[in-house]
Symmetry: C2
């Protein structure tokens, strides 16, 4: 618990950025991908296995943790880092997104949101102040403001209303955060749907309030990729260059590549672990469905050139077998392999930006995906 | 693939035996516990994690592997060791036990058993010769003869009939094994239910045929522990002292302790992994149900004195949380912790026998279990 939060922009290559985030639990090289540890665990993986994929920070979900085992309980047990035995930085979301997607009977008001727990039906209230308090109890290195996140498409009035509410909550979050700062960081969240004017208004108002970093929220919620990338391209330049920019809940390897090209520094997504649990591998050759019968007799590993042993060691035939047999080890191995691929992709992007050849890296990476999986034996 | 199979009895302490099995894939210190890798994986665990618990040999299930992915396929992929990336010894069962417990429409005849696969309903025949062939295709270091295993209680006539059939199958298995020996071992299986005369007849006939090791089958199939231990105590001395003795499908930590005291060298059981998947830990203090609310705020690890980091690192509160949240990592950690405890128990027994103080070790171990889990904070 030494260094307070800071961000250092080390290099730019056109719009792409190479930076470093300093937190009380260590440094994070950006662009960075954060594996999702929803319920105080990246599903199926030992924390040292998560770190061995190259991850330097994980995300925890406030909504899940506040309901079970409870924020006060985790605080009494020494905080989320100690609880899940993850000594590196943690970012927590505010809980707002999952209240909207998982809970029943939610009622949104100026004061906050009241909902029924999806676990036991208990009535729970989440306000901007409580979201900050919970994240402080968890001991997050980076906290997020409570916001209202709509699904797209939505009409402009509704998007404007949610964005304005999120701004008022941003102010309240910022005030509440003063009491718990302790070297930690709070990020504001730009809302405004697919409307440039609303995004610009949100970005400007948040910058005026002043945050340690800025997220772009309300994307990857049903809109096509080109819409998402357009909003990212328009929004990122409106954010302070000396603060990290975090695109929430994104995405596929191609999303990451394209968003970094548009100035994003941080990502989180369940895709590598969720798809891994369903037999899909992300590789240099694109996505591979291990459930497909063509792998049944294939002795080759997924990627002999991978830096991670799991991708070099186990045959496609074995991964196919584990997937078909619904064996836990299949989920474990493919989650590991996918997280390692995501981290290798981020490492590749960081090195390319540092060397001023990001465009080349982007083209070569896409070429690999498009060439596709080399034919079976 | 250097040394052929052999067994060396190193020391006896009363009836308890300390020995060493040599196989083409390495040595196994006995008494030994074999984790069960049903479908070419010890559920949820990387092979190196299984080895890190202290396991020197695992068991593979012929029934499951012959149906999926198929013995011929595994052979074409380089054998079971390469397929599951487990370089140490493997024992495979004959498939008979699971045909009886898992498949539908089975028809038992002198020639063998015909059944419908529980996976796709395909009609499959398993004969003593085919069971040997499959195990050779898998590349097992130790193969088991096909036998007929009844549930207890059963009437004496039925037990006698099944035992006699198993003996005829033992002879056929032994003949078939001559073609595939290749430095490997074949074990015969003593049947005869809870009847001493039948067990004696089976043991004598098997010894006359001559096997590399002898299993006691048809126990842990519904009978009380004292019945099982009585049969073990009566049967073990009838088996050749210079061959390993394997008590199939057993058992609880107390079963292992008591069976070693009666001259058994090898065990396999799903208990440490299956119960681990359901929130139960085996410890020096006896079995602990992590789902119990009393662990919710308990910062202590399961066993600070464990040789395995998983038992020393994660709090009971965290294991409780993972169990309640049905998180895969809970199954992974508790399976690991349980296998490590089983192996520590075997190590303790081996050291005690070597030092001629097995009775003391047995008493001290039972005292620990009976003292129970120290009270929560």
């Amino acid at each position: 618990m030494s260094d307070p939060f800071s961000f250092h922009l080390l290099k730019t290559d056109s719009v792409a950025r190479r930076g470093e985030i300093v937190t009380p639990h260590g440094r994070v090289q950006t662009p960075a991908f954060m594996p999702v540890g929803t319920q105080a665990t990246v599903k199926g993986l030992l924390p040292e296995a998560v770190a061995a994929t190259g991850a330097e920070i994980v995300l925890g979900n406030t909504y899940h943790l506040m309901l079970r085992p409870g924020a006060e309980r985790i605080a009494a047990l020494g905080g989320l880092h100690a609880f899940m035995h993850w000594p590196l930085p943690i970012l927590t979301d505010s809980g707002g997104f999952q209240v909207m997607s998982l809970s029943a009977l939610r009622r949104l008001e100026e004061h906050g949101v009241t909902f029924r727990s999806h676990l036991d039906g208990a009535v729970v209230e989440l306000t901007p102040e409580r979201a900050i308090e919970i994240q402080a109890l968890l001991g997050a290195d980076i906290s997020m403001q409570l916001d209202e996140c709509l699904k797209l498409p939505a009409n402009r009035e509704e998007i404007a209303r949610a964005m304005q509410l999120s701004l008022r909550w941003a102010e309240r979050s910022r005030r509440a955060f003063e009491d718990v700062r302790a070297g930690r960081a709070l990020f504001g969240i730009v809302q405004g749907g697919d409307d440039f004017t609303l995004r610009a208004e949100s970005a400007k108002a948040l910058t005026d309030i002043g945050f340690d970093g800025y997220a772009i929220g309300g994307l990857a919620v049903g809109e096509p990729q080109d819409v998402m990338l357009k909003i990212v391209a328009e929004t990122a330049p409106m954010l302070p260059a000396d603060r990290p920019r975090y695109l929430m809940g994104v995405g596929t390897p191609d999303d990451l590549l394209q968003a970094v090209a548009r100035g994003i520094d941080m990502f989180d997504c369940v895709l590598p672990t969720r798809n891994g649990r369903h037999g899909m591998a992300f590789t240099r050759y694109g996505a591979i469905n291990l459930g497909n019968a063509r792998h049944a007799n294939d002795k080759r590993p997924l990627d002999e050139q991978s830096a991670h042993p799991a991708a070099r060691t186990y045959s496609r035939a074995y991964l196919h077998h584990l997937t078909k047999a619904n064996e836990m080890l299949g989920a474990v191995l493919l989650s590991t392999i996918n997280l390692a691929y995501y981290q290798a992709l981020m490492t590749g992007m960081r090195e390319a930006i540092a060397a001023g050849r990001f465009a080349d890296f982007q083209a070569a990476t896409k070429e690999g995906w498009e060439r596709g999986d080399p034919a079976t034996l």
